[in-house]
């Protein structure tokens, strides 16, 4: 295994339906992601971004092709091994936050830790650290509906990083936010990346995609282009939208 690449995808296909109704959500996608990289997957809606993201995050399986995460392929793993990877190696950030209602900020961040064997003290420590990193330490006892969208997304980021995952998968993390909150969210993601965090970002906004180091363009289930970002945007420099 080449330790440089944390993710290796070879000719991934995802097919829904059969016969006439057969549709290719992914039609032969191959790419690799290095440890510590910030990658954007860019494309219009319906291009297969979300399907790809689910496969990367072990929430779904490819119909054919090989997908390897740290050399491990989902079809070789048992349900609980897959759960363990989702728990320890991958942090999800969703467009609609997906925080648990009626559950405090702190408890929401602790959610992935509930499925680990860490001590309560360690769980508390990690959750506080994660909230500190996204600047939400002052809202521990708040409930999601008492927070703004941007604040909710920052809590969701804290939840994604609380288990110190190998990769953060962010699915349109700014898609449901005003530009200022979105900028703050991107600033946090870039900061995490600077500290060595591998991040894969799915977006349909060109501006957001240029905050990554590399962009993969996806259309109709195929990669139609790939480029290294020459003039990388930095969220902390302010709005240039």
């Amino acid at each position: 295994m080449n330790s440089n690449f944390i993710i290796e995808a070879q000719n991934l296909k995802k097919i829904y339906g059969q016969g006439e109704a057969k549709t290719f959500a992914l039609n032969g996608v191959s790419f690799k992601v290095k440890q510590g990289e910030f990658l954007s997957i860019m494309g219009p809606s319906g291009c297969g971004k979300s399907t790809l993201m689910h496969i990367i995050g072990f929430l779904d399986y490819p119909t054919s092709g090989t997908y390897k995460f740290e050399g491990k392929s989902p079809n070789e793993l048992t349900d609980s091994e897959i759960s363990e990877i989702r728990n320890k190696k991958i942090g999800f950030i969703f467009q609609f936050f997906n925080l648990l209602p009626r559950t405090t900020v702190l408890e929401n961040v602790k959610l992935p830790l509930v499925y680990t064997k860490l001590s309560n003290k360690e769980k508390q420590k990690r959750a506080l650290q994660a909230l500190e990193a996204v600047g939400m330490s002052h809202r521990l006892k708040f409930y999601p509906n008492q927070l703004s969208g941007g604040e909710q997304q920052r809590v969701a980021i804290a939840r994604a990083i609380v288990n110190q995952p190998k990769v953060i998968l962010a699915d349109e993390p700014t898609g449901n936010l005003d530009s200022k909150s979105g900028q703050k969210v991107m600033e946090i993601l870039q900061k995490l990346n600077e500290q060595g965090q591998t991040i894969i970002l799915v977006t349909h906004e060109k501006y957001t995609s240029e905050m990554a180091e590399r962009i993969i363009y996806l259309k109709d289930g195929r990669i139609i282009g790939e480029e290294r970002v020459h003039q990388r945007k930095f969220a902390k420099d302010g709005l240039v939208k």
Partner: protein, 418 residues
């Protein structure tokens, strides 16, 4: 995920839907409390009757006419169906009384008649017997005297009243020496028995007692007896005594039965222990039957739990998806929903025990008052353990399918669910 986390999550979810949780639990509360009440009242009744029977002494033996029939074992049945078996005589009783190990013998005849005093009348059970009966029964007169040997010998027209009969006919008047009419025959009241209090089936306060011979000849027109009550000197001699009584009765009734085949005899002998066991077992069956009916309420409650768990799974599809995305295993989701169902039913079980105990206690007070008997409030640990296990079991049985459904949701389907 640790068990305490599962519990915490369940409590949070249940508290978030207080009314719903309460109403769902109510089904279980009603089911469990009905079972507890049925078992408690059943055991209370059993205790009451067993106590009454054993108050007569555990070394009492009953001899009844009619052959032993393994299909019919009930004393009362014999009394009704085979009342016309005429084989048992007063002389049999006298013969038995001479056997070693016999302390006392009291033959009985009985019937129901109307007793008239001035303008009042009352239908009562009368028992024709000998003076020994009161010693076996353990009752003594509070007014006047009891039956005496002379009364029986000379077929005197005298009567001894149960406490309640005296109250009903005479009120506060002293009945001693007054004259009653039964079947147009005058009887002189010689005594009133102390108040005994009685069960639902037989209440000695409602009986009147006459000399055996008087009841046989004047009221019934018969020369045989219905039951011979024998009191043995001790429990140890009962077995051998029963056998001796069989032999002497066979001899007297000219029955050749060396094989000791009980179906060939024209009498049957029941000991106090057997009678108690028999009544207890009848009551146990009754209790079991009533409890089973009550258990149906529990099943209905369980279906309510299942229904609400399905609602809960559907409502929280998105949460399930998220939990799976952050690393929950199938097992974690399964256990979470099972714990939730079990917490609901467990709380229902506890509520049911409290409600059931309260209702049983009140019912005991009321029944005790109605029957004029100290009612023993029974709340067996066994019933409680069974109730709790049944309620937890209900949670498991009715929670497993919704929980299984939740555990097998695909995470992306669940996350997309709106």
């Amino acid at each position: 995920m640790e068990f305490i986390d599962f519990l915490k999550t369940s409590f949070n979810t249940l508290m978030a839907n207080k009314t719903r949780s309460f109403l769902t639990t109510l089904g279980i509360v009603i089911g469990i409390s009905s079972v507890i009440v049925m078992v408690s009242i059943g055991s209370g009744a059993q205790k009451l009757i067993v106590n009454r029977i054993s108050a007569m002494g555990s070394n009492t033996i009953f001899i009844e006419p009619g052959a032993f029939d393994p299909k019919k074992s009930s004393m009362t049945q014999t009394a009704i169906e085979e009342a016309e078996v005429k084989t048992l005589k007063y002389s049999d009783a006298l013969a038995i009384s001479k056997l070693p190990g016999v302390e006392m013998v009291a033959p009985w005849v009985m019937g129901v008649e109307t007793v008239v005093y001035q303008d009042k009348n009352k239908r009562v059970t009368f028992i024709g017997t000998t003076p020994e009966n009161q010693k076996i029964d353990g009752t003594s007169p509070i007014l006047g005297r009891g039956l005496e040997d002379g009364d029986v010998k000379s077929m005197d027209r005298v009567v001894l009243l149960g406490y309640k009969v005296s109250k009903d006919l005479f009120g506060d008047e002293n009945p001693i020496g007054k004259t009653l009419r039964i079947k147009n025959i005058n009887f002189k009241v010689i005594g009133v028995l102390e108040e005994k209090g009685g069960g639902a089936f037989m209440n000695p306060d409602d009986y009147i007692y006459l000399p055996l011979t008087t009841a046989q000849k004047l009221l019934l027109g018969i020369d045989y007896v219905r039951v011979i009550v024998v009191k043995a000197e001790s429990e140890q001699v009962i077995d051998s005594l029963v056998q001796e009584m069989r032999e002497i009765l066979r001899q007297r009734h000219h029955i050749f039965n060396p094989e000791n085949d009980l179906t060939k005899d024209d009498f049957k002998i029941t000991t106090q222990v057997e009678a108690t066991e028999m009544l207890s077992s009848v009551l146990s069956v009754l209790t079991l039957f009533l409890s089973s009916v009550a258990a149906i309420a529990l099943v209905v409650g369980g279906i309510g739990i299942m229904n609400i768990m399905f609602v809960s799974v559907t409502e929280r599809t998105k949460e399930i998806g998220l939990r799976k995305a952050v690393g929950a295993r199938k097992k974690d989701i399964l256990i979470q929903f099972l714990v939730e169902a079990v917490v609901l039913t467990f709380l229902g079980g506890i509520g049911g025990i409290i409600l059931g105990a309260g209702v049983s206690f009140l019912a005991g007070l009321i029944l005790g008052h109605l029957l004029n008997q100290p009612w023993v409030f029974v709340l067996s640990v066994k019933a409680i353990i069974i109730a709790v296990s049944i309620s937890v079991g209900t949670g498991l049985v009715f929670g497993i399918y919704p929980a299984y459904k939740a555990a097998n949701l695909s995470p992306i389907q669940a996350l997309r669910y709106e």
